[in-house]
């Protein structure tokens, strides 16, 4: 910052070097060029340009589904726009926020920011330790100026002025018959804290990304989940997370309670509460503890947070062979399809029967009938559940080594033996009922319905840091936008009649709506006129 223009309104909030041409014109040595480039990169204009570019670059990610937040949307997009898909993909349009181009914009911005903040910090440090500037010759020319006539001794008047300014938290300095004062260093401190904390957030997020992990697991009522890598249905982890980072605690889902609205006609069937009752057992403690997980209330265990993200029904089915021996028994998670929790799932019975058996099931928690005669669910809760099964026999394709989803049944190599499209109606069961399978294959029993919870477990060691820096961002912002930075001067002239003429003047650095009032208020108090104390604006 140039100190030469101290008398004028300090222009340090308007950038100084902006228009500066590189010294020596276009013929620069390599170091000159580097300097020139650095100066350009850390100029305010570049910062502005990069900020606006960042805003624009963030837009496409809201128009095109993102792999990180909406993977199914990406699959859908591929199906809907087969021509566009490869182009968008090549441009990293499905991973905008980790793309090369988006990353380079914000990294450049942060380099610029650091290049901007460091020298400013040095300057600010010096400014805080230097004396307030000399009093300008003609105070009456400044933005805010007042004049009063007082009686008494000049030295006394100066002393009082100094005391008043000190009380207002100005730093003061006496120059002859005048006082120079300055306050509001906090403004610049706030600005530096703000920008510095932005860097802090970026670093904390990056660190958290490589030290954290997250995963999902579907847990049926009565079943446990154990926190180890193999215990998850899907698992993501940062680069620096070893297998041993996971604390092998155990969560058992005892019961999942869901409350649906029944009274309000406009919202019948809308869920109003989910509560998962769980038992937690930590490896180092022998005893187990009960806990609840709700949607906005995750459970904290061993540095992880456990969230309740979804739910559904898992019908319990038992399949027996013709002799009555059990070939399959268990709860099969079905995926909800609509608001009324009509759910679809697949049961696969590879062993224990003469042939492999596959079933596609539909669960209607509260069964009703459409006009067409088809079944439908009329309410999401289990008031009158019915399970309907389409049955297939043949090769389930489980032995090929290719992983298969548990939620889909590839019917290519299968023969349907019951359900729509065959002569045999679908197997239709209420809880407790048993029905014979076609072709004498055996029987299937619908034992009842359990709920399942879809749990998400997160471990992010830097989260607290991100929050701390965010709070600093806010605090720095408040200080830098609302703390006025001012200079004030008081000069005493001894007139011939023995009275004192006192000039008061102020100068703002940056935006300062209250300057004039502050000068007036000082003048009034100093000259002892009470009338305007409190302001007459």
């Amino acid at each position: 910052m140039s100190r030469s223009s101290d008398l004028a309104r300090p222009t340090d909030h308007i950038e100084q070097e902006d228009g500066a041409e590189p010294v020596g014109g276009p013929r620069l040595g390599p170091i000159g060029w580097v300097r020139f480039a650095w100066r350009q990169l850390t100029s305010m204009r570049t910062a502005l340009f990069l900020l606006l570019l960042l805003a624009i670059a963030a837009v496409p990610g809201s128009l095109v589904p993102q792999r990180s937040s909406d993977p199914n949307g990406v699959v859908q997009y591929r199906a809907d726009h087969p021509d566009l898909y490869p182009i968008v993909d090549a441009l990293q349009g499905f991973d905008v926020y980790t793309s090369v181009w988006f990353s380079s914009i914000y990294l450049l911005l942060f380099v610029s920011l650091i290049g901007c903040v460091l020298p400013r910090t040095r300057q600010h440090w010096q400014a805080m330790r230097s004396r307030p500037p000399r009093t300008p010759a003609r105070l009456s020319r400044l933005d805010a100026a007042e004049e009063r006539v007082v009686t008494g001794d000049a030295d006394d008047a100066l002393g009082r002025a100094e005391a008043l300014l000190r009380k207002r938290r100005y730093r003061t300095e006496r120059y002859g018959a005048s006082i120079s004062a300055e306050r509001g260093y906090l403004r610049e401190t706030g600005n530096l804290v703000f920008h510095g904390s932005l860097v802090g957030i970026l670093v904390a997020v990056a660190v958290g990304g490589s030290l954290g992990y997250s995963g999902q697991k579907i847990v049926v009522e009565g079943e446990p989940f154990v926190n180890y890598v193999g215990g998850y249905d899907s698992f993501n982890r940062g680069r620096l997370v070893p297998d041993t980072a996971l604390d092998p605690y155990r969560i058992r889902l005892d019961r999942l309670d869901i409350v649906y609205e029944r009274e309000n006609e406009n919202a019948v069937g809308q869920p109003i509460d989910y509560t998962a009752h769980v038992t937690v057992q930590q490896p180092d403690s022998g005893s187990a503890a009960d806990a609840d997980i709700k949607v906005n209330e995750p459970l904290q265990i061993d540095g992880t947070d456990v969230y309740l993200l979804g739910n559904g029904y898992a019908p319990r089915i038992t399949v027996r062979d013709a002799d009555g021996d059990v070939a399959f028994s268990g709860a099969v998670p079905f995926l909800p399809q609509d608001q009324q929790m009509t759910s679809v799932g697949v049961a696969k019975i590879p062993d224990g029967l003469p042939e492999q058996l596959g079933m596609i099931g539909f669960l209607y928690p509260t069964v009703g009938q459409l006009e067409s005669g088809a079944l439908a669910s009329g309410f999401p809760d289990l008031l009158d559940p019915v399970l309907s099964l389409n049955v297939y026999r043949g090769d389930l394709g489980l032995d090929t080594g290719v992983p298969v989803s548990v939620y889909t049944l590839d019917t290519d190599d299968l023969t349907q033996i019951a359900g729509r499209g065959t002569d045999v109606p679908a197997v239709e069961l209420r809880p407790g009922e048993t029905q014979q399978l076609p072709d004498g294959l055996g029987s299937v029993t619908f034992d009842g319905v359990s709920r399942f919870a879809s749990l998400e477990i997160h471990h992010d060691p830097s989260q607290g840091w991100v929050l701390a820096f965010s709070i600093l961002v806010l605090a720095g912002l408040l200080a830098s936008l609302f703390v006025p930075r001012r200079r004030m001067w008081v000069r005493v002239h001894e007139e011939q009649d023995g009275r004192l003429r006192v000039e008061y003047a102020g100068l703002a650095r940056g935006d300062d709506p209250g300057l004039a009032a502050a000068v007036r208020e000082l003048a009034d108090e100093h000259s002892g006129s009470e009338r305007t104390v409190g302001g007459t604006t």
Partner: protein, 327 residues
């Protein structure tokens, strides 16, 4: 009971819209009447300083402003106009009705009245109007009356026709005190941005007139000059920016509670971020040589368009976790 209260709330809202509409007409008439009046440009202190500075910059390299310091910041007051007072009075009356409508809706739902688009718009416009009226008490911003009431009537029109939904209970994800904090602060930010954008619009119109006297757009005398308008817009917008920053942080905390991650580039998060970055750019622009004046005003307007887009388009048409429009 719920139903009756809600119907009563809707009735009050229609009344409020009617009153606002008349207030809008009054404000517009006033503008028209005054712009047809005197041609002298009222110049506030800040503008005089700025003009003198501009002149001084040309001559003195030291750029010491050489002019008598302005003693007061009060622009010359024009003769009070009756239509203007009618406008303000009706705006206040409309606001009281609007407040009643909003409170009743809250009582009907037994919760804060900002849980879906309909309620959010209702409370949002209430706070826009409230912030405007509050600022009126501190500064003579009545020349913004036409823009603000016009916008509020328009928004309420879209709201009642397009977003109206019945009172339903809160889904579990919204049952959180963060709904109260995060959304309320977002609404406050929006209100300040609205006033800021209105000031910027007037500033741009005004700038045209200052540059070419006969550009066809005539503005009444009592409207401050561009520099004052720009300063006011800046002050209002930075308050909005602080609120928006808080909204962003509070939203991230809430997302962490509800969805298990504080930031996931969900569409709504993306747009909140975009708006934040644009306004950060706006604040920078004010400190960048060559970007003061109309350019920064344009940035404020772009930022505000993003706010409107975020609310009107992203909520309704974009897919994402923030599917709370209730439509």
């Amino acid at each position: 009971m719920t139903q009756t209260l809600d119907e009563f709330s809707a009735l009050l809202l229609y009344l409020a819209m009617g009153v606002y509409a008349i207030s809008f007409i009054a404000f517009t008439l006033d503008l028209a009447r005054r712009s047809a009046g005197a041609a002298v440009v009222a110049e506030s202190a800040a503008d005089r300083v700025a003009r003198a500075r501009g002149a001084a910059r040309g001559s003195a390299a030291g750029s010491v402003a050489t002019l008598d310091p302005p003693r007061a910041d009060a622009p010359a007051r024009p003769r009070e106009s009756l239509t203007l007072r009618v406008g303000v009075t009706l705006a206040i009356l409309g606001w009281v009705l609007h407040l009643g409508a909003t409170v009743l809706r809250g009582v009907a739902g037994a919760r804060v009245p900002w849980a879906n688009m309909y309620e959010f718009s209702m409370t949002g416009t209430l706070i826009i109007m409230g912030v405007f009226l509050l600022l009126l008490a501190r500064r003579d911003l009545r020349f913004l009356g036409a823009i603000i009431t016009g916008m509020v009537v328009l928004m309420l029109g879209v709201t009642t026709v397009g977003f109206r939904v019945d009172v339903v209970p809160l889904p579990p994800a919204l049952q959180s005190y963060w709904l109260v904090i995060h959304v309320l602060v977002a609404i406050l930010a929006t209100a300040f941005f609205t006033v800021g954008a209105a000031l910027s619009i007037v500033q741009l119109v005004r700038a045209r007139r200052e540059n070419g006297p006969e550009s066809g757009l005539r503005l009444p005398v009592a409207i401050p000059g561009t520099v004052t308008l720009e300063n006011w817009a800046y002050r209002v917008n930075i308050v909005g920016f602080i609120f928006w920053t808080f909204t962003l942080i509070a939203g991230a905390i809430w997302a962490e509670h509800a969805w298990g991650r504080y930031w996931g580039w969900d569409t709504k998060e993306v747009w909140t971020f975009i708006i934040w970055v644009i306004y950060a750019g706006y604040i920078h622009a004010r400190a960048t040589r060559g970007w003061r004046g109309s350019r920064s005003a344009w940035l404020a307007i772009v930022g505000y368009s993003a706010v409107l887009f975020n609310f009107g388009i992203v909520n309704v048409f974009f897919k994402g976790l923030h599917a709370y429009s209730g439509l």
